[in-house]
């Protein structure tokens, strides 16, 4: 009885901080977010975005990963089933049908590729050699007929491009999947 009376008497001495402890501390959350932020900043490359799979395009697959050679001046050609985009900014160069039937469109594409390749070749080192050999990276949907690919390879070779790459997705087991399909 005496003890409880004493406790009641000291009630006003209990610090208020004990009442606040139940509230959520966001400091640990900020720590996690900081770590996550640093990790993401270390892994995200703006340059790498150029070589990722574009939206609404299904790449064909290949078994091994072979990266682009370093120090290349790369021009990207994106061949969708319904449109053709060229360059880093994805300039629209018409549909596949226009590409096949309109010589003006093809000339425009050739001129653009030539201009871009020459710009890359103009960047020279101290010995007068091009710093970055021009490279054409063809990103095409897997359903595109080879005629368009052949034409773009032909345009690329006509436009001073030394290297031509095809963008694919990594799938180490596609041959096994293919074997299963043919056995059915």
């Amino acid at each position: 009885m005496n003890q409880s009376k004493y406790a009641r008497g000291l009630k006003h001495l209990v610090p208020k901080r004990h009442q606040d402890e139940w509230s959520l501390s966001i400091i640990s959350l900020v720590d996690i977010l900081t770590i996550l932020l640093v990790f993401l900043l270390a892994n995200v490359s703006v340059e790498g975005q150029k070589f990722t799979q574009p939206n609404r395009m299904a790449f064909p697959v290949s078994m091994k990963k072979r990266d682009l050679l370093e120090k290349k001046g790369t021009t990207v050609v994106q061949i969708y089933p319904d449109r053709i985009l060229i360059g880093d900014r994805g300039i629209y160069f018409g549909t596949l049908n226009e590409f096949a039937n309109d010589p003006v469109k093809r000339t425009e594409i050739l001129k653009y590729l030539q201009t871009t390749a020459l710009q890359i070749l103009e960047d020279k080192d101290e010995f007068g050699n091009p710093r970055t050999p021009p490279t054409l990276l063809i990103q095409a949907d897997r359903s595109i007929p080879c005629w368009y690919i052949t034409e773009f390879v032909s345009l690329g070779t006509s436009a001073y491009y030394e290297y031509i790459y095809f963008a694919t997705l990594l799938d180490t087991n596609w041959l096994q999947h293919s074997a299963l399909s043919t056995r059915r």
Binding site: G9, H12, L13, P15, R17, I26, I27, L29, V30, L33, T34, L36, L37, L40, L41, N43, V44, V46, Q49, T52, P60, V61, S62, M63, K64, K65, R66, D67, L68, L137, D141, R142, S143, I144, P145, C146, W147, I149, T150, V153, S154, G156, T157, E162, Y163, I164, Y165, F166, A167, T168, L169, L170, W174, L175, S178, A179, S181, T182, R183, R184
Partner: protein, 181 residues
């Protein structure tokens, strides 16, 4: 009699510690992190390099640095894989692969269950590799209506069988006019 300390003095002593305002920082994080997650590359992109050859192999060679071996291997057979997707009226083309090797009869690999038989092509390429261990060049000639996916898989199989120099050819269709008397 001793009096307890006044409430005013206690208020100062037991006031909660001052925490800096983290809400603006949280807001910044909540904007930046979804943006970075969107930019993050999840899929693994592979690349296939190409040696380009237009027309037949003797007509025009690409000038890329990878195109250098064919001239040094004139005593070795030239292998060409022709990829076809349809059958013509004369029966000269069929859906599938045709492997042409100089000095040997051509070999045909047709579709199985409507799919290209990459397993058989792989076996054939392995046999060629055993027959010519030093051969580095191989040519691929897809017809216009062949899908890009089939072309890439064929190139990939050649790479897997240690043919580092793959030449891209466009098949030439030649028409012979017969003189009518």
């Amino acid at each position: 009699m001793a009096h307890p300390p006044s409430a005013r003095r206690d208020q100062h002593r037991f006031s909660p510690p001052k925490v800096s305002d983290l809400v603006p920082l949280m807001n910044l994080f909540l904007i930046i992190i979804p943006f970075l997650l969107l930019m993050m590359v999840v899929t693994q992109i592979a690349m296939i390099a190409l040696n380009f050859t237009q027309g037949t192999s003797t007509e025009k060679q690409g000038e890329g640095p990878l195109n250098s071996t064919q001239g040094t291997q004139k005593n070795i057979s030239e292998i060409t894989i022709i990829i076809m997707a349809s059958q013509d009226s004369l029966g000269t083309t069929f859906p599938g692969f045709e492997i042409r090797e100089s000095g040997n009869p051509k070999e045909s690999i047709g579709l199985v269950n409507g799919y290209y038989d990459f397993v058989k092509l792989d076996a054939k390429l392995k046999a060629i590799r055993q027959q010519y261990p030093d051969l580095q060049d191989i040519s691929i000639a897809p017809y216009d209506d062949v899908l890009y996916d089939t072309l890439i898989k064929t190139i990939d199989l050649c790479r897997e069988n240690n043919f580092p120099h793959i030449h891209y050819k466009a098949p030439q269709v030649r028409y012979f006019a017969q003189e009518v008397k």
